[in-house]
């Protein structure tokens, strides 16, 4: 095989693997963002965090939130919920960043990409 073509195909394999791994890391990140609280399931987003923060700012410490399954969940302690949500967001995002950095910093070989 022509050397240039062989190198291009090798790079193509590398890119396909890299793109696949990026997608898997992102899916894992979305999963890591889920907080299970008082029998409810909450995918923590900036909206959730801001809403909880706004309630606290207005001295509202108990409320009802609609979870991912559209169930109304009683939040008796908004500060506690906000604290856990913030922690969940920070943990998941840091983990994602670490994994992503490791992924793109690896030497250009398929083996190093999947060694997560």
């Amino acid at each position: 095989m022509d050397e240039a073509l062989a190198k291009a195909l090798e790079f193509s394999n590398f890119t396909a693997t890299l793109n696949g791994q990026k997608r898997i890391l992102h899916e894992k990140y979305l999963d890591d963002l889920v907080l299970y609280y008082n029998n409810g399931k909450f995918s923590i987003s900036k909206e959730t965090l801001n809403f909880a923060h706004m309630l606290i700012s207005n001295n509202v410490n108990n409320t009802i939130l609609i979870d991912d399954n559209n169930n109304p969940i009683d939040i008796a302690d908004v500060k506690d919920f906000h604290g856990l949500a913030l922690q969940k967001y920070a943990d998941a995002t840091n983990k994602y960043l670490t994994s992503y950095k490791r992924l793109i910093a690896t030497k250009r070989s398929v083996e190093s990409i999947v060694d997560v």
């Binding site: 696949g20 791994q21 899916e27 889920v34 299970y36 409810g40 399931k41 399954n69 398929v110 997560v116």
Partner: protein
């Protein structure tokens, strides 16, 4: 209230589902700290040592069986007997009040499923899963047919024993018994699939329309098809050789960490379990 895992393992002479079940039970213990009960029609294939891994072994008669094409990578396949008829009996068979039912080829790598026991819905199942191959877009996993109802994965589900779930499993048994009729109504192929059985059952429980009778299982389910190969399973890391787009017989690597993965290549899985 007792919690546990139930799995079904019927050996077919070529694939050792009991070995897979033993592998699953060990991981269930490690990551979920739950007991596992296995239902089998081939208990003689279970070694005394492996038997101890299980909380209990339930022996059932060999029920009706299907023929299924099992792939081993993109280039090889075998036509084998697929004994998948007993899953609708889960309610009657399980010794637990709250049960997670798992396929034996489900690789547990985290404790997310424990959240099943801290929620209020009676029945949970996945309607979505993530393919480890990023170019495949399989619509058969979205809807059971092009013009059909929503697809649910019978690979993994949770139920609490009560009158409502009893009703559901009775309904499943009825559909299964009259599958020839229902498969025509829902425009399905002749091969019986538990995924389709559960999808029809849930559709009926929802009043023959979209609904939320079945809740979403916690966490994500990743999967690889039998066209892919298992590269390695080490603790909570699973590496897969997924088929390459437009290059039959060629593969690219994909890996997961702390993710539950459904591995459909039984031959490849067996090599790693036995190896």
């Amino acid at each position: 209230m007792s919690n546990g895992v139930l799995c079904f393992a019927h050996n077919n002479g070529k694939i050792d589902y009991l070995k897979q079940a033993t592998f699953l039970a060990k991981r269930v213990k490690k990551y979920l700290n739950l007991p596992t009960t296995v239902v089998t029609s081939t208990p003689k294939d279970l070694t005394a040592k492996d038997k101890k891994i299980f909380d209990s072994v339930i022996e059932v008669e060999d029920q009706n069986s299907n023929l299924k094409r099992y792939y081993n990578g993109t280039l090889h396949h075998h036509q084998l007997v697929f004994k998948n008829a007993s899953r609708s009996n889960s309610y009657d068979l399980t010794p637990y009040e709250n049960t997670i039912v798992l396929d034996t080829d489900y690789i547990i790598c985290n404790d997310t499923l424990l959240n099943c026991f801290n929620q209020t819905q009676n029945f949970l199942i996945y309607d979505k899963a993530t393919d480890l191959c990023d170019w495949r877009k399989l619509e058969e996993f979205d809807y059971i047919k092009d013009t059909g109802i929503k697809f649910y994965w019978a690979t993994c589900f949770f139920f609490t024993k009560n009158s409502e779930t009893k009703l559901f499993f009775n309904l499943l048994q009825h559909i299964q018994k009259n599958y020839e009729h229902y498969r025509k109504v829902y425009n399905l192929d002749k091969t019986f699939r538990n995924d389709h059985l559960f999808s029809i059952g849930i559709h009926m429980m929802n009043g023959f329309e979209k609904g939320d009778w079945a809740g979403q299982l916690p966490g994500k389910m990743f999967y690889s098809l039998d066209r892919d190969f298992v590269h390695s399973i080490k603790d909570n890391c699973v590496k897969i050789l997924v088929e390459k787009q437009n290059y039959s017989g060629e593969y690219v690597l994909a890996s997961t960490k702390d993710c539950n993965v459904h591995l459909m290549n039984k031959f490849s899985l067996a090599e790693h379990i036995n190896g």
